[in-house]
């Protein structure tokens, strides 16, 4: 355990009121502590009457900005906390660090499907797919096995579940690159308790169905 870890921990605990599942306001500062700290010192606001102040980005790092930012919430961090822990930048991950490391913009997802594998051959697998977040019909699709990451290969079998996501990303030079990704789902089997609950629900539904038919 290191000193910086402790600071990190305390910092994290301060960020979140115990009754909230949001990563909301603080999360504008996003998924990393780095950006959280940076977020705490930014002073932007939306409204035409303060337009001149935005042009001076150096003001973002002024102590005054840091102080004023605490009005958003008591859990807001400070520049000092960031400076005390320079390793925070190493610990940060997506999306900022990824954006910095990769030559493309973040991908844009156009659609996602939930799939169930029905058949596997030497080179392909077939599946029933249903588009997520829509009322779309069930469709059938065939995919090459070469689309599967090696780590997921053992999960490709009849009955296997997967997500299929299509979208695009834009290269730094402005070219659109289509992406299609298949990720096998890794769900442990339902427990005996879950199965009993499902069975009870099914019996109840059957009873209602029979009662309404009589």
């Amino acid at each position: 355990m290191t000193g910086s870890s402790n600071q990190h921990y305390q910092h994290y605990l301060r960020r979140f009121p115990h009754s909230s599942t949001a990563v909301g306001s603080d999360e504008n500062q996003s998924l990393t502590d780095v950006t959280f700290a940076v977020g705490a010192i930014q002073g932007h606001s939306i409204g035409p009457s303060i337009r001149p102040s935005w042009t001076n980005h150096s003001q973002r790092h002024s102590p005054d900005r840091s102080t004023s930012a605490t009005s958003i919430g008591e859990s807001t961090g400070t520049t000092d906390e960031f400076l005390e822990d320079p390793t925070a930048r190493v610990r940060s991950y997506a999306p900022q660090s990824l954006a910095e490391q990769t030559p493309v913009s973040p991908p844009v997802v156009l659609a996602s499907w939930d799939g169930v594998i029905t058949e596997v051959t030497e080179e392909t697998f077939s599946a029933r797919v249903t588009q997520l977040a829509t009322e779309g019909p069930e469709e059938f699709a065939e995919f090459p096995l070469s689309d599967i990451s090696p780590g997921d290969a053992s999960l490709v079998r009849p009955g296997g579940l997967f997500y299929w996501t299509v979208g695009y990303e834009t290269t730094k030079r402005g070219r659109i690159r289509r992406i299609s990704e298949i990720r096998l789902r890794r769900l442990p089997p339902k427990s005996e308790e879950d199965r009993n609950r499902a069975k009870a629900w099914a019996l109840e539904a059957l009873q209602l169905f029979e009662d309404s038919g009589s």
Binding site: G24, W54, V108
Partner: protein, 223 residues
């Protein structure tokens, strides 16, 4: 009609509130349970591992656990559905974990032309009232809450702020919050099954709701 701009930065997370044992949560545990692949396990990076606080990355995913909070987050939109599976898988295994609330969060940043940036701020919070009492009023943070229309207790909150990540830009966050201990008052039993059930049965609605809220904010016009 023009389509809304694509986000410049994505984020999604699922947060559970309840009682957790952070010491359990380690990349090796997720690997042993088959919840992450060999490659993901090999790429895992532990940030903090203490008896009451754990945080680590597994490839596309970050997991943070305290005694009362379990959070999984990703900045890769193509993997947002997998966040759901990590939570379902984890708490099917740890089925007796009492979980009193679950929130699914979307956080997106959009770079906008400056005029449009101002227009959205003015439309959401008209400055007429504030101009009489404040000099140069501007929107710093706006939270709007709606009630749930499904069978769960809880709320849906939308947060709008100037983005700190892209400038000029706007941050829009949506917190889809399910209060599970309200629902279990009658039965007196609080375990992980209610949270798992939310993710199994409500996922389509959650996936559809946040983009709709975000699109609405992005299309708002000043009167």
């Amino acid at each position: 009609m023009t389509s809304p701009p694509a986000p410049d930065i994505h984020g999604a997370s699922i947060v559970l509130l309840g009682s957790f044992n952070p010491a359990i949560f380690h990349p090796a545990w997720f690997h042993k349970q088959g919840l992450v692949s060999d490659e993901e396990h090999d790429a895992a990076a532990i940030q903090v591992m203490l008896p009451d606080f754990a945080r680590f990355n597994i490839d596309w995913l970050e997991i943070t656990v305290t005694l009362d909070r379990f959070e999984v987050a990703s900045g890769e939109p193509e993997n947002f559905n997998l966040l759901r599976d990590i939570v379902i898988g984890t708490f099917r295994i740890l089925q007796h974990t009492p979980i009193k609330a679950i929130g699914v969060n979307r956080n997106e940043h959009f770079k906008l032309p400056e005029d449009r940036w101002h227009e959205i701020g003015d439309a959401l919070v008209p400055k007429d009232v504030w101009s009489t009492v404040l000099d140069a009023p501007g929107l710093r943070a706006l939270t709007v809450e709606g009630v749930r229309t499904d069978n769960y207790a809880g709320y849906i909150r939308a947060n709008v702020e100037p983005s700190v990540r892209v400038h000029p830009g706007i941050y829009i966050g949506v917190n889809d919050h399910f209060q599970l201990d309200e629902d279990s008052k009658d039965s007196g039993v609080l375990d992980s099954s209610q949270a798992v059930s939310v993710l199994e049965s409500e996922w389509d609605g959650i996936l559809e709701r946040a983009p709709r809220i975000i699109d609405t904010v992005l299309k708002v016009k000043a009167t």
